[in-house]
């Protein structure tokens, strides 16, 4: 069974092991250690780590399409944000009449821009199950339609990258508009509770953190499952020699579409878990620069090695947290410098370093996945 296959391979076992160990460790340190003890992990840190894990999942999603399908999506932030908005709308409805205007139905921003009734696309988001389905469906559908159009007409390489960028840019502008009914620039915020748990308690935060950990694990296994399956090898085939794959009788566009949609849904889940933890979702998540940044995480961690994406995402964002605190005026230098140095001196990213140490007969076929003399994008 394709989903269980990854569980037998060592790298996945190691990854899951470390992940669960880390989550468990943080949880314990948070619960057991007393406030102010040197080893105590504050709720702040827990949420922070939770955020990193969301980014990690997002990065894995991007690596799936970029690393194994050769599709450089500069618009994955859009799927992330859509998932986030779906969750945000649910949380918004959960506020109920506790908003500043105490309106039982309308969110505050609708009240003071005096909308008189809830727009149709807000219907149903008061029900958790519906919202959670939308978390998958909204990004999934967008990816499906967009991908269908793009792959069917064989848009490839940089052209694809740029129109994904156009996609997320257009969505950003759209969501900035207040007429859209998503709170415009202010976005959705001031959340109270999620499925009955108060968002402002440490317990809930811990819960969300653990949930994110699990989501990352599941997402990782799904991606592994795909890339270690025959389909995974087919997608690598599409990446390296699309025409050839067609002549072997594979419908390249469907392969691309399938993987793209899966990836988009994972991104959506990441977004959905991200929103309750940071407490706000706003159109800036759609900004093209954010999407590019995601790609940078992946490249930095090591393309076409899913765990590399995880390392990259966590590393970059940890660096961000530290730098913005330690050297507020100069942190962009550090970050920019990091990007440059890694891309120039670590073409295979950090994972590349790890692999160098490995022996050649490593049973993991995708290790070679990063070996690609002329990949499609080279035609840019």
């Amino acid at each position: 069974m394709w989903l269980t296959r990854p569980l037998q391979e060592r790298s996945t076992q190691v990854f899951l092991g470390v992940l669960f160990a880390a989550v468990a460790l943080v949880t314990l340190l948070h619960l057991i250690m007393p406030e102010g003890h040197a080893l105590h992990v504050s709720a702040y840190t827990v949420t922070l780590l939770g955020k990193y894990l969301c980014y990690a999942l997002l990065a894995v999603a991007v690596d799936l399409v970029w690393g194994y399908l050769g599709i450089l999506s500069l618009g994955h932030g859009a799927f992330f944000a859509l998932g986030g908005y779906a969750m945000g709308m649910y949380l918004m409805r959960q506020i109920g009449d506790r908003g500043t205007y105490g309106d039982p139905v309308l969110p505050d921003f609708m009240v003071f821009l005096n909308w008189d009734s809830l727009p149709w696309y807000w219907q149903g988001f008061d029900m958790a199950w519906f919202a959670f389905i939308m978390v998958l469906l909204a990004p999934g559908l967008l990816a499906l339609v967009f991908g269908f159009l793009a792959f069917r007409s064989r848009v490839t390489g940089v052209y694809l990258s740029i129109i994904t960028q156009a996609l997320t840019f257009a969505l950003m502008l759209a969501f900035f508009r207040n007429e859209m009914g998503f709170g415009g620039n202010n976005g959705l915020t001031d959340f109270r509770d999620i499925v009955g748990f108060n968002l402002r308690t440490d317990a809930t935060r811990l819960g969300l953190f653990i949930a994110t950990g699990i989501a990352l694990a599941v997402g990782y296994v799904i991606c592994r499952g795909i890339v270690t399956s025959k389909l995974g090898r087919v997608s690598i085939a599409c990446r390296d020699a699309e025409a050839r794959t067609r002549f072997l009788g594979y419908r390249v566009e469907w392969v691309q579409l399938f993987v793209f949609v899966v990836s988009a849904m994972l991104a959506g889940v990441a977004g959905a878990l991200y929103v309750p933890q940071v407490g706000i979702i706003n159109p800036s998540e759609f900004s093209p620069l954010f999407s590019i940044e995601i790609v940078v995480w992946v490249a930095l961690g090591g393309r076409a090695t899913l765990y590399g994406a995880v390392i990259g995402a966590i590393l970059v964002n940890y660096a961000k947290t530290v730098f913005t605190g330690v050297m507020p005026d100069a942190w962009l230098f550090a970050l920019g410098g990091l990007f440059v140095l890694v891309t120039v001196f670590l073409p295979k990213g950090i994972a590349g370093l790890l692999q160098k140490r490995r022996k050649q007969e490593d049973d993991d076929p995708t290790e070679n996945g990063s070996y690609k003399p002329q990949s499609k994008e080279a035609s840019a």
Partner: protein
């Protein structure tokens, strides 16, 4: 003893080479039929009223100077290029002009490219696995499991193309000749009714060429094979029927001797060769 001795004794038939029941209808005549095909790339006429018929099980060599339209012809047959006019039939049932590459491929037309293209990031084994005739839709592909019989089949082909030792090495590290072989191997895995082989021996050593020749001839009869080649020696060694293309249309057709004595041909082509 080498595979090729086995191959050469005619009564030995590899079951995986035996064409399985295919939808192609060859009861009345040719397996491939091109009529009045024309293609032009902004002004330049690459194919010019091309008429060509390949009979079932035939081994046909196609020669012609550069720019004669050999590769373009293959592109048309495999659905990569659409002709401006004309008709292309596979058997008497399938109009290839209405199909796309994957459909055509799954109908049983395999193609080997002029420039050998294998999946360099994948191992030799995986290359063959992907080529293997199977249900190639998304879900079956995702859930496919490597059955023992498949593995055996792949190993047999590996044996045949002499890449057994390199089984688990990425195809990227293969030599040019090895890549050629791997690609032929992939063709075999597809179990095609019609093989289009574009310059199979380019960059091969003498003895590699020999092998190739043996293999191709052995295939003929069970499958139809169309070989495009420059190397006259090689063509002579395998050719029964030879077609000479010139400026996008058939210049001459017949056995090697007939062709090579045809004054027209000598003028435009062999003349230069000799």
């Amino acid at each position: 003893m080498s595979v090729f001795e086995q191959l050469s004794n005619r009564d030995r038939v590899f079951e995986f080479l035996a064409p399985e029941a295919s939808p192609v209808d060859v009861r009345h005549g040719p397996i491939l039929y091109l009529e009045d095909v024309n293609v032009s790339f902004d002004g330049f006429r690459a194919i010019n009223n091309l008429n060509l018929t390949i009979d079932d099980g035939e081994l046909r060599c196609i020669i012609g100077p550069n720019g004669a339209g050999k590769t373009t012809m293959m592109d048309i047959i495999t659905g990569k290029t659409r002709p401006d006019t004309g008709s292309v039939w596979f058997g008497s049932r399938h109009n290839l002009l209405t199909m796309n590459e994957p459909d055509i491929a799954s109908l049983g037309i395999g193609r080997k490219f002029q420039k050998p293209t294998v999946f360099e990031a994948l191992t030799v084994f995986e290359n063959l696995e992907l080529a293997m005739a199977a249900d190639k839709r998304i879900w079956p592909t995702l859930t496919a499991i490597m059955k023992a019989e498949y593995r055996d089949r792949i190993d047999e082909v590996l044996e045949m193309i002499g890449l057994k030792q390199l089984r688990d090495k990425p195809a990227g590290i293969l030599s040019h000749g090895q890549k050629q072989w791997l690609e032929i191997g992939m063709l075999l895995m597809q179990k095609p009714r019609l093989l289009l082989v574009d310059e199979p021996v380019a960059g091969m050593t003498e003895q590699e060429m020999e092998r190739t020749a043996e293999l191709l001839t052995s295939l003929a009869g069970k499958q139809s094979v169309v070989v495009v080649e420059h190397d006259m020696g090689f063509v002579r060694s395998i050719a029964r029927q030879v077609t000479v293309l010139h400026q996008g249309s058939v210049l001459a057709e017949g056995t090697m001797d007939q062709v090579s004595n045809d004054p027209e041909v000598i003028k435009v082509y062999l003349g230069e060769e000799a």
